[in-house]
Symmetry: C3
Subunit: 370 residues, 3 copies
């Protein structure tokens, strides 16, 4: 794992100074760095940390005085987070997976596994599965009949890729991710309470006792290139057409994508986001942690939703939203400010009314339980 | 998988016309349908799609002119979603599981597996487990000692059914579902901050440093017939009595059901719903995606909660609720409307006060951080 | 599993009366208890249940008249929930795991497993793993290279402990828990929409189409003693430094802890809580079910957050909070009351304005969609 400063700077395509042959073994925070570490100090505020630590080499902000900081070598970067990508990649050995197929894996004879694959113990690969070259599949993963996966896949332990799912190149699936479970789709013989309430916004004349009948999911899941799926995330297959995740989109842990959902390209769905059935998410959409999207909703391109936003209505392209129900972020920030003053506002209005009408009226009779 | 129009119409119990011996291989959306597909066009709005596609047969709305639509055969249905159930079922081959017990499954000799079962590779079945006839158990599932499962179970890959869980007939467990994990139940030696705050609604005189002591879960989980559990959903066992899920209830992906919870019959718990310990949910309750139910709450029969509703207090039977905290849906819709106008309302009140009292007072001093 | 009343009282360190040699086989609720059960009736309100049931022995409140209740023996406790801990522990046999290493486990020859361990079928243990004495590791778990786990670990089925994770003594990991998945950390070549919006609170001049570049996670996860991780919970590894969970902290099912997060000691993170990257949670913090913590937030010691609270800003030590965005619990309760009266308030203000200004103005023009 050792690398020289020269190698790292070259990989990042940036400038380095000092002893370019100095070898470093890992990246570290400035204050914790030892003499064999590369300290990551891409902002002036880390200068103090560098002084505490023992690093001989560091990644620094662009006009830093590396000699004044007591270093023997330094790499200079402009956009720190971007540099982090290259630096962490160069130090990431990835999970250890011996090349070849483990003797305790069960691989169907009709499956086609590309050259250079590493398949761990207790992996199951079904009939007619096709997996591209250099796939790394960790222990306990299962890939069911007819699934197709592109090149350079990294499939961590316990991932489930269900039957006939198709996935592009460079998939990363974190442990426990499930791709292609059945959709959650049920119907009652007669109109259900949910159908009634959706049309009346809450009114119900009559309540019927009915059981749910299953709508099966005979569609698949289609995933583009360069997609990452988080730990224990779940993606349901479509009813008739496929559920789709576009190229370059990343899903965090415990994200739920319902049946028939279409997610565009280059989206980020952060931790615990849930998207209900048949909704369509555009390209480059960012949904913060714990956001929810109701079913059959359209979220336009480039929408950004703050954490825990709940989206019940269509969102035009480019909008930045927040809250539950989600509204424009600026509006929500104003609402939040106003909310904190709301109890006081009620007092003020009561006082005004007293002055204006000359009488006090009780204003609590309409309190409402759940 | 090929079926004739006659067979499908008979299975649905509905009327068909045209060439009833026409064979179709799969269901498809009208515009994407090929000549061997059955186009699903149960509403007039799909007529255009039919014209684009190449289907020779379709499922149509009841008074459709099938010949005018250029079809050779047609099936007519009244309630489209209900028809979807029968149609998708007839085309769902289900997961491929070879009959018999895979040589790399570990089945305890005391376990009783019903006739016709299919048990996949790397399955573990413990002591005294009883599983009904025709069970299909996919790879990597584990069923621990003393668990009892009825007939026709479909248990997908990686499902965990923990010790002494009992389940009725026709269970469907999606991949990664966990039934019978330990409850989350802890106690401090002296009153905890949570106990204090619950009684005072926020006030605390004194803060003690205490560690949490575990309350073990020696109750089980009891699940009725016709229950489906979603991918990576979790159901905790009870402390003393069993956690219960009633007949016909369906849980979506990533749903969490806490210890001692009682869920009635024919409920739908949508994606990422969470129910805290010891709450009781009635029959035919529908909780939309990401709903939460606090602990020790009673939710009555036939309650419907919109997505992301958070239920902190008991809910009477039949009520339709929304919001956080959840209130009647109509009330919440009014509140939501009012909220968007709240910043403007504050201005209006400030202006009124100015007019009425003849003086301007500052109204920002009571702003509150978190 | 049988125990005498004397044994149980001694284990609890409390007083018992009557036939102390009476043997009980399990704990039960009073009304359901049979003659071999120990009824748990720690409050006067259970007296009626005792009369319905058939228990000969019970755990009672401190000044209960056990003979008047028709019992042959009784144990008396002061703090019922605390007693529950000892009683349930004494009746919890735990999962059945045969001692030794199952022949179908794959244990790397360099791994060190402490004495008395039980390792189930289809377990995978990687290179240089170290596990303390008396570990119990259920089927299908995987522990990757370099991981270190202390004594008396109980690791349930299908748990994933990723490479180089370090964990203290007495770990309990419920089924499907994942410790050490990669962090969700991505960067765009130029400033992303999220970065712009964070600085402007919603304004964007220009929208760029960019793809996400991965920041790898080369940090680990460090977990203290006496930690419990819930079913299907996920803990991401750090980017450079480790993600940390302090001694005595308990995580419930489906909790998500992002990369670089630091959680203190003796915290409770209830079901489906999510903590975004790089946030710091103090000691003895309690986050109710479905709470969310935004990234880079500091939550002080002894903070208690009610269910579904969403924390967007730092929280001072000792504060009790509620709501989304979370504010002091008292404030939120007032806000909630006011919200229910908000539609009426708007009417009142409209009426006042009419009186004061002598004219009616329309106040709906500023309604805002999402």
């Amino acid at each position: 794992m050792g690398q020289t400063i020269r190698q790292i700077a070259a990989a990042l395509g940036v400038r380095a100074e000092g002893d370019l042959d100095l070898m470093v073994l890992r990246a570290a925070e400035p204050a914790q760095a030892g003499p064999d570490d590369l300290a990551l100090a891409m902002d002036q505020k880390y200068a103090g940390g560098l002084a505490q630590g023992k690093a001989r080499a560091a990644v620094l902000w662009e006009d830093a005085d590396w000699q004044g900081l007591g270093l023997q070598a330094a790499i200079f970067v402009g956009r720190p987070r971007l540099a982090m990508s290259g630096i962490t990649r160069s130090f990431d050995a990835g999970p250890e997976l011996a090349p070849g197929v483990h003797p305790l894996a069960v691989v169907d004879s009709s499956a086609h596994i590309g050259a250079g694959a590493a398949i761990g113990p207790f992996v199951v690969i079904g009939r007619d599965v096709r997996i591209g070259t250099r796939a790394r599949i960790a222990s306990h993963a299962s890939i069911a009949e007819g699934a197709v996966i592109g090149e350079d896949a990294l499939i961590h332990a316990g991932v489930r890729i269900c039957h006939h799912v198709t996935i592009g190149d460079r998939l990363i699936a974190q442990p426990g991710a499930i791709i292609g479970s059945d959709g959650f789709s049920f119907v009652t013989p007669e109109k259900s309470g949910v159908e009634v309430v959706r049309s009346t916004l809450g009114e119900r004349d009559e309540i019927r006792a009915q059981s749910w009948i299953r709508i099966h999911s005979v569609g698949g899941v289609e995933i583009g290139d360069d997609v990452e799926i988080g730990a224990n995330a779940t993606i349901d297959r479509g009813t008739i057409r496929a559920t789709r995740i576009g190229r370059g989109t990343k899903l965090d842990n415990l994200v739920h994508v319902g049946h028939n959902v279409q997610v565009g390209q280059d989206c980020l769905l952060c931790g615990q986001v849930g998207i209900a059935g048949s909704s369509r998410i555009g390209d480059r959409v960012v949904l913060g942690g714990q956001c929810g999207v109701s079913d059959n909703i359209i979220v336009g391109n480039d929408v950004i939703a703050g954490g825990a936003s709940k989206i019940f209505t269509n969102v035009p392209a480019g909008r930045v939203i927040l809250g539950s129900p989600a509204v424009r972020m600026e509006t929500q920030i104003e609402i939040n400010k106003a909310l904190r003053r709301l109890p006081r506002l009620m007092q003020t209005v009561a006082e005004l009314r007293k002055i204006v009408t000359g009488s006090v009226q009780k204003d609590g009779a309409d309190q409402e339980g759940t």
